[in-house]
Symmetry: C2
Subunit: 279 residues, 2 copies
Amino acid sequence: MDAAATAFVPGHLTALFSVHRRGSPERTGSRGAGVALTDGVTVRAAPGDRAVDLDGESVAAVEGVLDALGVDARVDIDPDLPVGAGFGVSGAAALGTALAVNAVAGLARSENELVAVAHAAEVAAGTGLGDVVAQARGGVPLRLEPGAPPHASLDGIPAGGRIEYLSLGELSTKQVLDGDTDALSAAGERALAALRERPTLPTLVETGREFAVEADLLTDDVAAVIEDVAAAGGRASMAMLGRSVFAPGTGLSDAGYDPRVCRVHPAGATIRDAGPTDS
Amino acid sequence: MDAAATAFVPGHLTALFSVHRRGSPERTGSRGAGVALTDGVTVRAAPGDRAVDLDGESVAAVEGVLDALGVDARVDIDPDLPVGAGFGVSGAAALGTALAVNAVAGLARSENELVAVAHAAEVAAGTGLGDVVAQARGGVPLRLEPGAPPHASLDGIPAGGRIEYLSLGELSTKQVLDGDTDALSAAGERALAALRERPTLPTLVETGREFAVEADLLTDDVAAVIEDVAAAGGRASMAMLGRSVFAPGTGLSDAGYDPRVCRVHPAGATIRDAGPTDS
């Protein structure tokens, strides 16, 4: 094994989605739309016995990645973002682990192969359905076909700029995804179709807000913040699946909140220190 | 129309490729591999009569983009890279124009739609076959299926770091592509298959060098520089289609050359100033 390697994976908030369960984890996933964030997750992998650490806990999707790659390593996960609040921390941990372990162990896998391993581990763990492919792409991803490469199909909204967000607490992704998702998915499909008619950031926020109501995911505290932003002349919506609100530009600040501030992250996940190049 | 908008598109050097001509410009393209570069092209579009300016000249692919989008604009193209030397300046100009004009004119097209418009214009102009889709992706792209989205299929090598390059002069892309490309394409297919067996940056350089020889594209001056880099313990190959050499790390410096220095650009093309967001 080489020296340690570090990967950075952008955060990803989901504005709207539909659930698609198919025969394998690689084909299972979500369609939908969201935003990749400059606030993300740094994952460091080093040679050694297996030890996965995110604030003192392990992460099921990361264990799944190590199992799939057949490699043990020390994996340290350092998130800039709140955990369990709809910002894709578990997907980022899985994808960052795949990239960093590939470098440390000299596996010579392609990016699509590593994305597929991370996506399948995240789906099997029940912690997410679409964050990994979005985090591998960056920007403002539209997930047109579910699953991992080569099954996935993505497009994007050509937009960047400042994003503000505020987390009021956790929502269990697993609990929502394990329930009946038919009505939610029908609402997600309608929202994605509307967004594809006019793929802009303002439309993403609008269709996301309609989706949150129709899918019955909007909590009262989140709804109150969204209303405050609208009253101040801005636009905000809910980050799925968390009790979280996001707004492009200065939407939350203008409404008197004290949000975290980041930007649209134009790139997907990247390996930062790959150690010595292989021969 | 809104205020001016600016897009940045990474440069892209092609290490190896094969030519695939199909029924339409959207399906025509190349397969192959290359590197997106932090040295790139900045494109500014502003409302006004049509005027396309790259060092005082127009660019056929940019005119094609404006025709396809049905928009006139003032388009200023500012390259960090030598023109006609294998760094994808014309593709970058076309893609940057599509992104900037979309923002200025409020067209609300998706990224895939804009990439398809730019790719088709570049193919129709005869100035390139694969730069645009690679420049829309960033990183170290493997182009597995030719053409524009949704026909294109891409993967990537998970690698980053310093890239050095040196341009000895121009080669006419149009002249090579207008000739008999069967032997070149057979060599390109072999090289891509070998690279996919082990998708790493050192393998990209090695397979690229073999391709340059087999495709009979290697000029004597380029070959001499590549040999000097190897003699100094490094790895270099030719950037297609120019009389240009690239090397990861410090390959050219170590051999006593005075190269331009940049890095792998992790992101695809991005819109920088989108003007006011639409409502």
